[in-house]
């Protein structure tokens, strides 16, 4: 009986003050236990990795030590060593940091480019839209993998930034198309038309009227893209088209498993990296799905 009254009170409170975007997202994540666990895992992993990597020296870790080749996990090396005697634990931490940084950087850069491009294309429509979308089509038919392989061969020094830039160049089209289709709908609505009669410039309408209405779509897409981008980086590094061994990433650690000896007898080299990739991608995806539901009132659970 008592609990019922409290609930009634709650709904009244909601009715007088509508919940903000963040509280809706938070409610949705709390209601979805898997998403909540994923979010906690993500925060823990990220803060742990970025925190510890501050105290680690990358050059020291990737220096070859011939006296410690293929050490199993033990006191000296928490997760053992690889064929160059390099500490796996240190590589794992720095590798996760690099992979995460690339994922985040690529997501942000593709996000900014894609959103602005799609917004301009969709908002102006007509001939401008036609030309801009043909450019997108051109980028879409380029063979991504082949061009990345060529870039790896040409670019002499490979860093997190240059790798992110290469990936960004081929990954901005998806979000651009998505935003364009939504902007096409949005600009026809009366509020955008009203802004025109009130004397707002096109730029102002695009950025201050239309863009805020696309924010939920942008957040959801970028979160889901983050998972995909982490996976993509690992995949490329695994195939040997990502980072060299001097710059560890989750993918380079995983690529040691291409050696059948390592695959069968030295699990400590590749299993942790594989598990981390899996956990990271799944967690980001779960949080993304919860966000996606939060943006659509009909799908909400919270």
């Amino acid at each position: 009986m008592e609990s019922k009254e409290i609930k009634l009170d709650d709904t009244q409170h909601v009715a007088t003050k509508s919940p903000s975007g963040f509280s809706i997202i938070w409610r949705e994540i709390v209601r979805d236990k898997i998403a909540l666990v994923s979010l906690i895992l993500l925060v823990l992993i990220t803060s742990f990795v970025y925190g510890i990597s501050l105290f680690l020296n990358q050059d020291e870790i990737v220096t070859v030590d011939l006296f410690a080749i293929h050490e199993p996990p033990g006191e000296d090396f928490l997760l053992g060593t690889d064929y160059g005697g390099r500490d796996i634990f240190g590589q794992l931490i720095i590798g996760t940091r690099n992979s995460l940084s690339i994922g985040i950087l690529v997501t942000l850069m593709t996000g900014v480019i894609g959103v602005l491009y799609g917004l301009v294309s969709g908002y102006f429509g007509g001939t401008i839209d036609n030309i801009m979308m043909r450019i997108v089509d051109f980028f879409l038919i380029l063979p991504f993998l082949m061009i990345v392989i060529v870039f790896v061969a040409i670019v002499p020094k490979y860093s997190v930034l240059s790798f992110s830039l290469i990936m960004t160049a081929f990954l901005w089209m998806g979000i651009a198309r998505l935003i364009r289709s939504k902007a096409l709908q949005e600009k026809e609505l009366d509020y955008a038309q009203a802004s025109k009669t009130l004397g707002s410039s096109n730029l102002k309408i695009m950025l201050t009227q239309v863009l805020p209405n696309l924010s939920s779509l942008i957040i959801v897409t970028m979160t889901l893209n983050l998972a995909a981008n982490i996976g993509l980086e690992s995949g490329l590094s695994f195939l040997g088209f990502g980072f060299p061994e001097s710059t560890p990433s989750l993918g380079t650690l995983l690529s040691y498993a291409r050696n059948p000896q390592t695959l069968e007898y030295r699990w400590w080299i590749w299993v942790p990296a594989a598990v981390l990739i899996l956990v990271l991608m799944l967690s980001v995806n779960n949080v993304g799905q919860a966000l996606k539901r939060a943006t659509d009132a009909r799908q909400r659970r919270g």
Binding site: D190, Q193, A194, S195, K196, T197
Partner: protein, 309 residues
């Protein structure tokens, strides 16, 4: 010199199709419309949906490109063909749908202040003060300044739309079916309020509606549109007391009467008009079902009739 003069306005939308997306035809949304409005008066534009009344209004504010014709406002030509839209602070619009015409992500303050930010350089404090005044003027409590549009009812939202339209103290307001999305009780509220501010600010309205009852209540002069053309125009008395065109007669007959005693009588009258409409349809409309050119019946009264002889 007329305050607003529309001469032979045509707005055609191209139909694309065939090979290479050529223009293969045109929808003649507005096809040769002319009228004049005097300052401080309310001009009603009436017609069924698809008759081009909204397109006419949107062409005047500049949201639809003009295909042919001329719109002059205080002697100045508006929205010249081929130019980008040229918004005027003197001409504002009230939109039909109070739900989609307010940006759901913006607070009332930002919505009402938008025109002020575009045209007047006010400090934050002055701006807030002005928005307060405007909200009071439309009968909303000033506390609602930080709320979002979805926290209001339809009528309140329409008032926010009105507050935004009058923020710049315009001279002409194009009211595109401002009450057709509202409950009848709220309709009266908004309409009376619109009349009040008309007196207060000496506003001129171009009132677009399909509801003759409301038009009778609001307007001084009326134009009736059908399929992009005028069928009849004149003063309120001309239209309601002596409708000449069969289409107008039918519209006037369709106005509901609240007196239950006259119910049978009204019904019979409507049926008579309906039979007349069916029988004489060909006398009033040409082969394509469009209205003829306007002929004057009296000084103020114009009717679309076939030329005699």
């Amino acid at each position: 010199m007329a305050f607003l003069k529309v001469e032979d306005l045509k707005v055609h939308f191209p139909i694309k199709g065939g090979l290479f997306n050529r223009t293969i035809g045109a929808i003649k949304a507005v096809d040769g419309v002319s009228f004049e409005i005097e300052q401080g008066k309310t001009y009603g534009l009436v017609g069924e949906s698809g008759s081009g009344k909204t397109t006419t209004g949107r062409a005047i504010v500049g949201l639809n490109e003009i295909t042919e014709g001329k719109i002059t406002y205080e002697g100045e030509e508006l929205n010249i063909k081929g130019k980008a839209i040229d918004p005027r602070r003197d001409i504002q619009m009230i939109f039909q749908d109070p739900y989609s015409s307010l940006n759901p992500k913006k607070r009332v303050l930002d919505i009402v202040a938008e025109p002020l930010r575009n045209y007047e350089k006010l400090s934050r404090k002055e701006e807030r003060q002005r928005v307060h005044e405007l909200l009071e003027q439309v009968g909303l409590s000033p506390e609602s300044i930080l709320k979002y549009p979805h926290e209001f009812s339809g009528g309140q939202r329409q008032r926010i739309g009105v507050a935004r339209a009058i923020a710049l103290k315009p001279k002409l307001i194009i009211a595109d079916e401002p009450v057709s999305a509202l409950d009848v009780s709220v309709q009266a509220q908004v309409l009376n309020f619109m009349q009040d501010i008309q007196k207060e600010l000496n506003l001129t309205y171009l009132f677009i509606s399909h509801d003759l009852g409301i038009v009778k209540h609001m307007c001084d002069e009326i134009g009736i549109m059908y399929k992009g053309r005028y069928v009849e125009s004149g003063t309120k008395q001309d239209i309601f007391n002596s409708p000449q065109h069969i289409y107008t007669k039918r519209l006037v007959a369709a106005i509901p009467d609240i007196d239950p005693k006259k119910r049978e009588e009204k019904k019979q009258f409507r049926q008579e008009v309906q039979t007349e409409y069916e029988q004489s349809y060909n006398d009033y409309f040409d082969n394509e079902g469009l209205a003829y050119g306007l002929q004057s019946v009296s000084d103020t009264h114009l009717v679309a009739l076939p030329e005699k002889g």
